[in-house]
């Protein structure tokens, strides 16, 4: 029995090898790129089949390799697929629907987006989010870069400074915002106390940090404080990648500190800056907790002067159960992030070209 199988196998191998030879010859003569590629794939398949028959395995070596690789990816990919990819696809569809989560879904076309145009609360949320971004992104970038440059030099206690600068980033928002609310308390807080005692600002002119138009500014200040340590670490890593020889050559040419920064540090860091700006912008657009905790009242409700996009998404979805409309707001958030990322990518590509 075994013998017959083996001879059958070797017969098949011969047939396959002949086919392989003719295909290889065809490839040599073929001019058209597309058919050529097709034929090459055919050759691969023949090779695999021959390999399979020779070794007597049921599955080929390549399939085995694929299966091993998929077994590595599967645990993460299945979770990622179910809990991230599917909801994302769903989110795009939902923006064109009207649904309250229990009754039948109805298709609405662009109606949700038309509603956005006349929604004053949405417009306020969009405006505040953009102001917050425009304030936070450059300030955080400059502060973290400056700090990184200072901490990249030989200063005493460098390690301690680095650690301290990272403290705000790891601290929980609930805890640390409650401290900020104490420090900047309008009537009792130490900041206003100092303004009152040392700068003689009258009691009724003291800034109300967490209401009205000052709200967004307080949010910006807080965010710069909280997040600069994180971006500082990223800049530090970038700075350590710059070759020391560049600076040595520059100082031989008599370049001062400013010129060294302008002609070496800044251009060398352009990839890092690209990454920092993109991450900062994405993180700023999705601001929610900072606003709710600094400016929200007891129940965490935000007024027009402090509302942000994610807050509106949350309200529309989980309070009003207007899921389609909420997804339309989410699409606006997505578009903003996409636009900024594309602009940054373009700028980066031009710089490298």
């Amino acid at each position: 029995m075994e013998k017959i199988k083996e001879t059958q196998g070797s017969g098949q191998i011969n047939i396959l090898q002949d086919a392989l030879k003719t295909t290889i010859e065809k490839v040599r003569d073929e001019k058209d790129e597309k058919t050529k590629r097709k034929l090459i794939r055919q050759i691969e398949r023949y090779n695999n089949r021959i390999d399979m028959l020779r070794s007597g395995r049921r599955i080929s070596r390549q399939t085995r390799k694929n299966l091993v690789a998929y077994s590595f990816i599967a645990p993460n990919f299945i979770g990622f697929c179910v809990f991230t990819l599917i909801p994302i696809v769903f989110a795009f569809a939902l923006a064109f629907m009207n649904w309250d989560g229990s009754n039948p879904v109805s298709f609405e076309g662009f109606n949700n987006f038309k509603r956005l145009a006349s929604d004053t609360f949405f417009k306020a949320a969009l405006k505040n989010t953009i102001i917050y971004c425009v304030g936070t992104v450059p300030l955080t970038m400059i502060a973290s870069l400056a700090l990184a440059i200072v901490l990249n030099q030989k200063v005493i206690g460098r390690g301690i400074f680095r650690t301290i600068a990272f403290f705000p980033y790891v601290a929980s928002l609930v805890a640390i915002t409650s401290v900020w609310k104490m420090l900047f308390h309008p009537s009792k807080g130490p900041v206003n106390n100092i303004l009152f005692t040392f700068f003689h600002i009258p009691q009724d002119a003291l800034p109300q940090w967490f209401s009205g138009s000052l709200c967004v500014i307080s949010m910006i200040l807080f965010s710069v404080w909280k997040y600069m340590g994180y971006y500082m670490v990223i800049y530090l890593a970038g700075l350590q990648g710059i070759s020391k020889e560049l600076y040595e050559a520059a100082s031989l040419d008599g370049a001062g500190t400013w010129n060294q920064f302008r002609y070496i540090t800044w251009p060398q860091l352009s990839a890092t800056t690209f990454f920092v700006v993109v991450m900062l912008t994405i993180n700023c657009f999705k601001v929610y907790d900072v606003a709710v905790m600094l400016a929200g009242g007891g129940s965490g409700e935000l007024t027009v002067s402090a509302t942000v996009l994610v807050y509106y998404i949350y309200q529309k979805a989980f309070i009003d159960w207007d899921l389609g409309y909420s997804s339309a707001v989410a699409m606006v958030l997505f578009l903003m992030v996409l636009i900024v990322t594309i602009i940054q990518f373009r700028g980066q590509a031009r710089k490298e070209a």
Partner: protein, 279 residues
């Protein structure tokens, strides 16, 4: 020559002055928190004279917080969630990253593109459909929902893959010739090498899960399921003028994160530098 020397000294003074001011700005809120946590409500805002540690420190704030709200339950939930999420995240993403960095297989680029495309996608864009999906799966008001939400991020796979790519291929190739299976190469060679990247990922995952607010707010509704952040926020809105207690609770919520960070921080800059997080 002398003026150059003087310039250098002035430069040094400026650098240190800036550093000290920034360090003070960074640390003051934490010092305030520590100080206010052991003060009575009358002393909290007292400014002249300001005392850092009151004559009679009110340590009882640290005891009362456990009885005023079910703080122990919140701590239990948060610790459970954070540990499970961190372990799952480390295992699954380093596992997947190994395949993406060191193995050749069909649809590799397409699969990786799916990960990359979602990195710039804020979670807030798809949190609503995700909630509906999880509710359909019966995960609403279950701790498991938060685990599913946090444990399979594209970020982890990306970070680990960048690190593995900096490990020379020859190392794996040599091991393969020695007859090691891919699983063994991952366990015996790659994992021990990737300490800095793993430490970085631990810090990010731990901090994110421990401090997450919006995720638990959406999913966890009943009191016994809530996390420290939700519990603390609830306490703040109920007893908004009990500053001493609020600060004591806040201090307690910070300690675990600070410990994890301080233990792993020596790997941290190295980890960021090698994982391509700098761009």
């Amino acid at each position: 020559m002398r003026s150059a020397h003087r310039k250098e000294i002035i430069g040094k003074i400026v650098v240190y002055a800036v550093l000290i001011i920034i360090a003070l700005a960074m640390i003051t809120p934490f010092l305030w928190m520590f100080s206010a946590a052991i003060k009575s409500d009358r002393e909290v805002f007292k400014m002249n004279p300001f005392v850092f540690i009151p004559k009679v420190p009110k340590w009882s704030n640290y005891v009362d917080i456990w009885t005023k709200i079910p703080f122990l339950k919140f701590v239990e939930n948060t610790v459970f969630l954070t540990i499970v999420v961190t372990i799952l995240q480390l295992l699954t993403s380093s596992f997947a990253a190994y395949a993406f960095a060191k193995l050749k297989f069909r649809y590799k680029n397409g699969l990786f593109l799916a990960y990359i495309a979602t990195i710039a996608m804020p979670w807030q864009v798809y949190m609503v459909p995700q909630f509906i999906l999880m509710r359909k799966m019966g995960l609403n008001d279950k701790l498991l929902a938060i685990i599913c939400l946090q444990a399979f991020s594209a970020f982890g796979v990306f970070l680990m893959k960048q690190f593995y790519e900096s490990v020379p291929d020859d190392l794996c190739e040599a091991a393969r010739i020695d007859g090691m299976s891919e699983y063994k190469i991952y366990m015996k060679i790659m994992l021990p090498l990737s300490k800095p990247a793993l430490a970085t990922l631990i810090i990010f995952t731990f901090v994110n899960t421990w401090n997450d607010y919006l995720g638990p707010l959406i999913y966890l509704k009943t009191q016994e399921k809530k996390t420290i952040q939700l519990g603390l926020k609830m306490f703040i809105s109920q007893y908004s003028s009990d500053y001493g207690l609020i600060m004591a609770g806040s201090m307690l919520s910070l300690i675990p994160v600070l410990i994890v960070f301080l233990c792993l921080q020596k790997y941290f800059v190295e980890g960021i530098a090698n994982t391509g997080l700098k761009g």
